[in-house]
Point group: C2
Chain length 283, copies 2
């Protein structure tokens, strides 16, 4: 396509992969090629400007790519690593965009060709909507992207540069630390939102009396159930620990309610409000 621009291959052109492609193309940083399982979804990605060209065959798009970014659900990654392996060019850097990192690092080590340069990444941006139709060239502006170092520090450096180039702030973490921290910051809120919807809807008539607070609190409960099943199962141990920490806070609150401890309830809300107000505004 171009003489100078590198080729970036996006594998799985949905919300994240599509937004990455749009962001790179909008900034003239790369020629973007798409690999996917559905011709129809790939064609839509092409129409929406997420990719320059696309194929359902790895042999068509992986050779020549300097970066290969796997943006499929984590459960599909082993299959993708196997498919692309034989077609990777010398020096190609492989990474992903999955929400859990221990399982992906282990899948990459197992299924990519020996010596392949891999570093995991987790761009922490999203939407309650899925698919390339919800993708945007601005999705990563001001967001955080965690990069996890594997066997190749050079690959991690290169993957960090890629995400920085589309507006993300890069944080380097070990896979263990990543999974422990996002279990609290991301996976726990999803489980809580779903549980809240189920608990409120189990009370006849209560859904008719919800307002903006409930709507905000449960917005992420409308996210893709399959994707969140995969994430929760891949990070079950850390999510279980996060749920225990959250349960302890709820029990503390319930105990204060039960003993009519108005001062304790006030302190609980005051501390939460103080911390929440300190959160940087995120779009």
């Amino acid at each position: 396509m171009s003489g100078d621009r590198p080729i970036v291959a996006v594998v799985g052109v949905g919300l994240i992969g599509g937004s990455l492609g749009m962001a790179l193309r909008r900034r003239n940083l790369a020629d973007v090629v798409g690999l996917g399982r559905s011709e129809e979804r790939l064609a839509l990605a092409g129409e929406l400007g997420a990719v320059d060209r696309f194929s359902t065959q790895a042999a068509d798009v992986i050779p020549g790519a300097a970066h290969v970014v796997v943006c499929t659900p984590v459960s599909v990654m082993p299959e993708m690593f196997k498919l692309m392996g034989p077609h990777l060019s010398e020096g190609a850097v492989v990474s992903d965009a999955g929400s859990t990192k221990r399982s992906v690092m282990s899948d990459a080590a197992r299924w990519l060709p020996p010596g392949a340069a891999f570093a995991g990444a987790h761009p922490m941006a999203g939407s309650d909507k899925a698919g390339v139709g919800a993708a945007s060239a601005d999705l990563f502006e001001g967001s955080v992207c965690v990069v996890v170092e594997g066997a190749s520090p050079d690959a991690a450096y290169s993957v960090g540069k890629l995400w920085q180039s589309v507006g993300a702030r890069v944080v380097r973490l070990a896979a263990d630390d990543h999974d422990r921290l996002v279990a609290a910051s991301s996976h726990l809120p999803h489980a809580c939102a779903a549980a809240l919807v189920l608990a409120v809807s189990a009370t006849d008539g209560a859904m008719d009396l919800t307002a903006g607070g409930f709507a905000d609190s449960t917005r992420i409960a409308a996210s893709s159930p399959g994707m969140w099943r995969d994430i929760c199962m891949a990070n079950a141990d850390e999510l279980s620990a996060a749920l225990r920490g959250y349960g302890a806070q709820l029990e503390r609150f319930a105990g204060m309610l039960g003993s009519a401890d108005a001062e304790g309830v006030l302190a609980f809300f005051e501390e939460a409000a103080r911390i929440r107000e300190g959160l940087e505004p995120k779009v």
Copy 2:
């Protein structure tokens, strides 16, 4: 002020009282007078167009009012009922805008003059911001307002008409039912949001890895701690029951995680997503 328009007295001109005043004045439905404890806050309400005139003295603004709507925190209502009692005009209808109804109905019965026409109301609109500075003439458009019948069906009818006139959809409920339903639909989400902030912030580094989902889920944790202490204490029994129902959902989820029940986790997220998607869009 006017010849024909009724006078509506708003007691406590904050977010809800101020929005009610603005909505009535914008629609030319009433002359709005404000009663409050702070001259400064009342003056701001006047500047922002929430009231035509105001005073810190009940004797100045309560006589002549056809409606008196107490929009103070629920903990202050007994004092307000006592203060205004001697100044109520013949036929005046008294109501409130509190988030719990059993305690307010009982306070009204105890502290208003015998025979006063009272009906409780709960306009279910709000914001994470407090004060008349956040008030808006459109706040109640499309919202639900619960009206609770007391000794006077005529008062309940009249209060319902008032809230309908500013755009709310009126739902009639008994005080017991109101408190049970909002414990789930409104008070529970507040407790969950605060507990989530405290649990995530207790994990060193996790707050740096939050994204839009956490921000949405915890927006209401920044609401007024004092107001929410009052609400939770006044509705402690029903909120405790709602917390138990929520805890049961969380335990069910944790159990499925622990037993690697991916199908169960998927069904949990699928049901929550289906219900959440059915929620009518609320601003």
